[in-house]
């Protein structure tokens, strides 16, 4: 019983801790824009790939002297169980955190606040948009389809950073929600190969204060 209470306390605390990390991450993301994800992806990759490189090099350096395999297996199979549990916890936590912020979920808007609905139709090789001028802070719902082949609707800011995207498909409508936090001219680039002028399929959005 006592063990159960301790375990329950530990799990509750751990859940709260994970939740607080997720909340902080989401808050930071909102403050600094989605670029946090690109930066996080880059640095996390570098760190993990460096760690893996160090492990592989270390093992190579320890291949010279031969030892009995049975002892090695016994020791490192035991460690593998721990390593497996650690990976499960890390992957589980990452899954839980990142699934809190799904781009296809309609955000919770304030009372009386409704998004501007923009109809977007992609075609070879351009964009038809029902509206191209927006205000900073105005929530927008882009409803995107295509009149011919598959395209990709990618919103780039003035520094050419990709801030949001979804696919543009014939017969289907994909909806992406976005609120611009900075004024400026944004470009819409096609993110799915659609034919020989794919790279010329560029639209424009103007965001003002």
């Amino acid at each position: 019983m006592c063990l159960f209470l301790v375990l329950n306390h530990f799990v509750t605390n751990l859940t709260d801790y994970v939740q607080s990390i997720c909340d902080n991450f989401a808050e930071k993301k909102n403050e600094e824009g989605v670029l946090l994800y690109q930066t996080a992806a880059w640095y996390l990759s570098i760190i993990l790939m460096t760690l893996i490189t160090v492990i592989f090099i270390t093992v190579v350096l320890k291949t010279t002297k031969r030892k009995e395999y049975d002892g090695i297996q016994k020791k490192w199979y035991r460690f593998r169980t721990l390593y497996f549990i650690i990976l499960l916890v890390v992957f589980g936590t990452a899954t839980y955190c990142t699934l809190q912020d799904l781009p296809f979920e309609r955000p919770v808007y304030g009372q009386g606040e409704n998004p501007v609905i923009v109809d977007v139709e992609a075609f070879q090789f351009g964009w038809n948009m029902s509206q191209t001028e927006f205000k900073v802070g105005e929530p927008i719902e882009f409803d995107i389809t295509s009149s011919d082949v598959n395209h990709g609707f990618g919103i780039y800011d003035k520094d050419m950073n990709l801030v949001a995207q979804t696919q543009a498909m014939p017969e289907y409508t994909n909806t992406v929600f976005y609120t611009f936090t900075e004024p400026g001219t944004y470009q819409i680039l096609c993110m799915e190969y659609c034919g020989i002028a794919h790279h010329l399929m560029i639209g424009e959005i103007v965001v003002t204060n």
Partner: protein, 493 residues
């Protein structure tokens, strides 16, 4: 489950050598096309966008096709030690491959087809004047013939395993997995081949379906397909088929590292569970290619992320971990073959990192179809899968015994590694800063990374050229009877 089969090897090994020469030469040409694309994106060479997209189409298609062909050679070579396989089907696959390649090349370079390897419906039929119907039909038809050859081969692999081990479940060691028996399962080569036969058959049927549907739509436009279904089938085909290359290639790692270290790589229960999981995950995780298709059922998008994470576990916990364990304190003699095998495990593991990160929906939202994607799969393909194939080629050179390792080999090996890491780094960084993939012309912001990539690519091409020259020299001098001299039974339970 303890039979080891050895057949007559002379003509069989000639066919294997033919597979590897064909595959590696095509890989080399595809690398040259890759460099041309980077030179064009980096504004170092003026290439017409129409031609750029043609070489993009041939690069994606050819690289996967050629690597799969070479990987089949690896699987067939080792699996035939344990299972009776049909040599006629092996040769048939090579013939259909060559016919398919010729059709694809004519479709692309004579009739200007540039629909990318994804040929996403309805692009083949709606090209906005980019290519003719003949070009699309030749490309799709060529892919279909290629696919039929590979399908026959995989069915033959499944047949051979079922005959030897009773069922595909027997090949995957289910009696051990479900606790009915204790001990070890079939040889690792058999377990891996069973998995490959299952996933590839699934992939090739999905691919054939979408290819035929596209062909029908091409000639009878009134017969239309649901574009979302077509997209699912395309990625189910492409993802699984491309993935299977490394699962065929890893058989060489199991066999060669076990031989070099004189340590058994037995299929114990965790090993078998991992391979059973890989079978399931490889078939189901293709939906991570559709994370930005918000019209898909939400559960499918979420499952795409969750299973992609899970798919990293078998390699991280069992396969790569096993490779580290088997060489640790083993006194292994490092030569080019064993180095390539070890490199391939390293490449596979580091390739998993950016792949898993990109399979995260919120990250994919700002990185999908940027150059981050080619960044991670070039790592997986170049440092993982093709490293296994080149390593296998060097292994054959070694066991033939007539060719000695020269000083050029380690130099080429290290050039290949360092510049491939550089190439992947340039791709990943381009992706981080938002450069889209599959763009004939890049904005100035992205050009410097393309230029770096082009330079790295040139050195990679030179390194691969030396690998192929070495293998070419070997294939002219070998006696093709070497398998009788080797053939360790380490893995037979």
């Amino acid at each position: 489950m303890s039979t080891t089969i050895r057949g007559s090897n002379t003509s069989k090994n000639k066919t294997i050598a033919m597979y590897l020469l064909t595959g590696s030469l095509i890989i080399l040409f595809m690398m040259v096309f890759g460099v041309l694309m980077l030179l064009a994106q980096g504004k170092m060479m003026d290439i017409d966008p129409g031609f750029f997209y043609e070489i993009m189409t041939v690069h994606g298609t050819g690289m996967i096709g050629a690597a799969a062909l070479s990987a089949v050679a690896v699987m067939w070579y080792f699996l035939s030690k344990y299972v009776q396989l049909s040599k006629i089907i092996l040769i048939t696959n090579l013939i259909t491959f060559i016919i398919g390649v010729v059709m694809v090349l004519v479709g692309i370079f004579v009739f200007d087809f540039a629909g990318a390897w994804t040929f996403l419906y309805p692009l083949p039929a709606i090209s906005a004047g980019g290519w003719s119907m003949t070009g699309a039909a030749l490309y799709l038809g060529g892919m279909l013939i290629l696919g039929i050859g590979f399908l026959l081969l995989n069915l033959d692999v499944a047949r051979g395993i079922i005959k030897q081990y009773g069922s595909l479940g027997g090949g995957l060691g289910w009696s051990i997995v479900f606790g009915k028996e204790k001990g070890y399962g079939p040889p690792a080569a058999v377990v891996a081949s069973t998995m490959v036969a299952i996933v590839n058959t699934t992939a090739l049927i999905a691919g054939a379906t979408v290819l035929i549907m596209n062909l029908i739509n091409l000639f009878i436009p009134s017969i239309m397909i649901d574009p979302m279904l077509a997209k699912n089938l395309t990625y189910a085909f492409g993802h699984i088929f491309a993935n299977s290359i490394i699962y065929m290639g890893v058989i060489a790692v199991y066999e060669i590292l076990a031989t070099y270290t004189n340590r058994p790589w037995k299929a114990n229960r965790p090993f078998l569970i991992a391979w059973n999981c890989s079978t399931l995950f490889t078939i189901t995780i293709y939906t991570h290619h559709l994370l930005m298709d918000f019209a898909m059922p939400k559960w499918m998008i979420i499952i795409g992320q969750v299973l992609s994470y899970a798919n990293g576990l078998p390699v991280l916990v069992v396969t790569a971990y096993g490779a580290l364990m088997i060489v640790y304190r083993s006194g292994i003699k490092w030569d080019i073959a064993s180095s390539f095998m070890f490199l391939s495990m390293f490449g596979w593991v580091i390739g998993v990192v950016p792949a898993i990160i990109d399979a995260t929906i919120v990250v994919n939202h700002v990185m999908h179809n940027t150059k981050w994607v080619p960044g991670h799969f070039h790592m997986y393909m170049g440092l993982g899968a093709t490293a296994m194939l080149f390593g296998f080629m060097y292994y054959l050179i070694k066991v033939n015994g007539k060719e000695k390792e020269s000083s050029v080999d380690p130099i080429s090996f290290w050039v290949y590694i360092m510049f491939f890491i550089g190439l992947c780094g340039s791709f990943l960084y381009s992706g981080k800063v938002g450069a889209p993939r599959r763009w004939a012309e890049h904005f100035q912001e992205w050009v410097s990374y393309d230029r770096m990539g082009a330079i790295f690519g040139i050195f990679i091409v030179l390194a691969v050229l030396t690998f192929i020259i070495r293998f070419w020299n070997y294939s002219r001098s070998m006696d093709f009877k070497y398998q009788d001299k080797i053939g360790s039974d380490h893995h037979v339970a």
